[in-house]
């Protein structure tokens, strides 16, 4: 008994050590980049480019007076709304296009044409249609993330293995059961991939959109910090925060891959 407990404890310690070891190398790389940055700034005696410490101090200042949280909240709100709208449109549309050949033939060419247009190119039209407010960036996020999700969902339907559809036909199940029990779960892993791509592009676009026409958000913070007295410490602080939040968003969508109805695709 005691031996078993000891062995279990040793195993736990080993996995813990392994996990730490896996984190060690990325942390070392980040530390190296920061050190290099610091050395170069100090060495060149730059008057404008901040040291890492100045960036941390600047971010702290904004965090304490609360403006940082307002900017983060504004950006996340726009991404959340635009992305949710895009998912609500793209997933049913992708299922429909994947299932019905006629819908695919009719709609796929125009989607393939709209897809490669950078969302940034839509900015003038967004301003024309929706003015300078929350609606413009939400529209841009919608445009940027709806196409990858449609395409991924459609190709997911096309990729359903025939043997599963045949089995469903063999058991003579209703259309509702076919969709709920076979088509949707078979496509779900592809939908999750589409969502990961979509949320990535959405986050990219919100920052770009906010740089141009708004009074809040992380993109606005970058432009405002530069315009209001060359506060490059805040520019870089914003960039780092954008990167960290992007990482978290990707991690959050990755959690969907752990659902049992999605995970079947990632094992074996």
């Amino acid at each position: 008994m005691a031996d078993a407990a000891l062995a279990a404890a040793a195993l736990a310690a080993m996995t813990r050590r392994r996990r730490i070891a896996r984190l060690a190398s990325p942390i070392a790389v980040i530390a190296l980049v920061v050190a290099l940055w610091w050395l170069v700034v100090v060495g060149t005696e730059s008057a404008i480019f901040p040291t890492p410490w100045q960036v941390v101090a600047g971010a702290w200042e904004l965090a304490v007076d609360g403006t940082l949280w307002e900017h983060i909240g504004a950006s996340l709100f726009r991404v959340g709304t635009g992305f949710a709208l895009a998912a609500a449109v793209a997933i049913p549309l992708g299922l429909w296009m994947g299932w019905f050949g006629g819908a695919y033939r009719a709609l796929n060419p125009i989607f393939q044409m709209l897809r490669p247009i950078s969302p940034i190119a839509w900015i003038p039209i967004a301003i024309l249609w929706f003015g300078v407010g929350d609606v413009s960036p939400i529209f841009l996020i919608f445009i940027s993330s709806v196409f990858p999700m449609v395409v991924q969902t459609t190709s997911g339907v096309h990729g359903i293995e025939r043997r599963y559809l045949r089995a469903a036909a063999n058991f003579g199940v209703s259309r509702a059961v076919l969709f709920r029990r076979v088509v949707i779960p078979a496509v779900l892993p592809e939908v999750v991939v589409g969502m990961r791509i979509g949320i990535g592009v959405a986050w990219l676009v919100v920052v770009a959109a906010e740089m141009i026409a708004l009074r809040s958000g992380l993109g606005y913070l970058i432009m405002d910090s530069r315009n209001a007295g060359n506060r490059y410490d805040l520019v870089i602080a914003s960039m780092v925060i954008i990167g960290l939040i992007g990482l978290c968003l990707d991690g959050a969508t990755r959690l969907l891959e752990r659902l049992p109805t999605v995970r079947w695709r990632y094992v074996r």
Partner: protein, 247 residues
């Protein structure tokens, strides 16, 4: 003729290919009696699976008729369930959800009881909540078999059902299948390239010719079960079938 469960008459099928029209099946007629176990043996690529697809209703013949219980075959239905080499157990459903897939879902309690019954029959007890990825190849075959049995099909169409399994599991599943058939008395149409499998299990063996497929020979297997493959009768039959296949 009137007693036959499945009647196939003069079935032909050709596919269009780059080289022109490729005839795959050329005039196949066969009858399967109710409760009979018929094995169709043929060289690979001879059109066995196409024939099976036509009989099970997944494809339509260019000419000829397929009737089941005297009615024309109008497409796949739970009356005849196909079990194929690669299997079609849904990887996103648990074992129990797979077993209950073909049931109407309106009588959940009865459905669950039925699923449990067949899970026990094929030896899946205790695995009801597992996902297919957690099971071995042999266990997956059992899930597929049980899922078919749950809807009480009258015919089992088996297209090389055990050929993806390792040799030992293959032998084991043959016995399992025979044991289940003792209890349930299904009509079985088995497609295989394994002559011993046919000799061990079938009531009748049909040998198909190379493409385009026709029925080249028929062997009635009047041997009591359980059969012993090394017995002189089995070996004699095996030799005869292999000779028809040109081996």
């Amino acid at each position: 003729m009137s007693a036959s469960k499945i009647a196939v008459h003069g079935v032909r099928k050709a596919f269009a290919s780059a080289a022109g029209v490729l005839p795959v099946i050329e005039g196949v007629s066969l009858d399967v009696a109710d409760g009979e176990f018929v094995a169709i043996v043929g060289p690979s690529g001879c059109g066995k699976s196409t024939l099976m697809n036509i009989v099970a209703g997944f494809e339509t013949p260019d000419a000829g008729t397929v009737t089941v219980d005297g009615a024309a075959q109008r497409g796949p239905s739970p009356k005849g369930i196909v079990i194929s080499q690669h299997g079609s157990v849904f990887p996103w459903l648990t074992v129990q959800q797979n077993l209950m897939f073909g049931l109407d879902g309106e009588h959940r309690r009865e459905d669950a009881a039925l699923a449990d019954h067949y899970a026990a029959m094929v030896g899946l007890k205790g695995f009801e909540a597992s996902y297919p990825r957690e099971l071995s190849g042999g266990m997956l075959k059992r899930v597929e078999l049980a899922r078919a049995l749950v809807v009480k099909p009258e015919v089992l169409y088996m297209d090389e059902p055990f050929s993806a399994l390792d040799a030992l599991m293959n032998l084991r599943m043959r016995n399992e299948l025979l044991r289940i058939l003792d209890e349930e008395r299904h009509t079985v149409l088995l497609i295989t390239h394994d002559v011993e499998e046919a000799v061990y299990m079938a009531d009748r063996i049909l040998v198909l010719s190379p493409r385009p497929a026709t029925i080249q020979a028929t062997f009635a297997v009047d041997l009591p079960r359980p059969r012993r493959l090394p017995s002189p009768e089995c070996q004699q039959l095996r030799e005869a079938v292999l000779k028809e296949l040109g081996l």
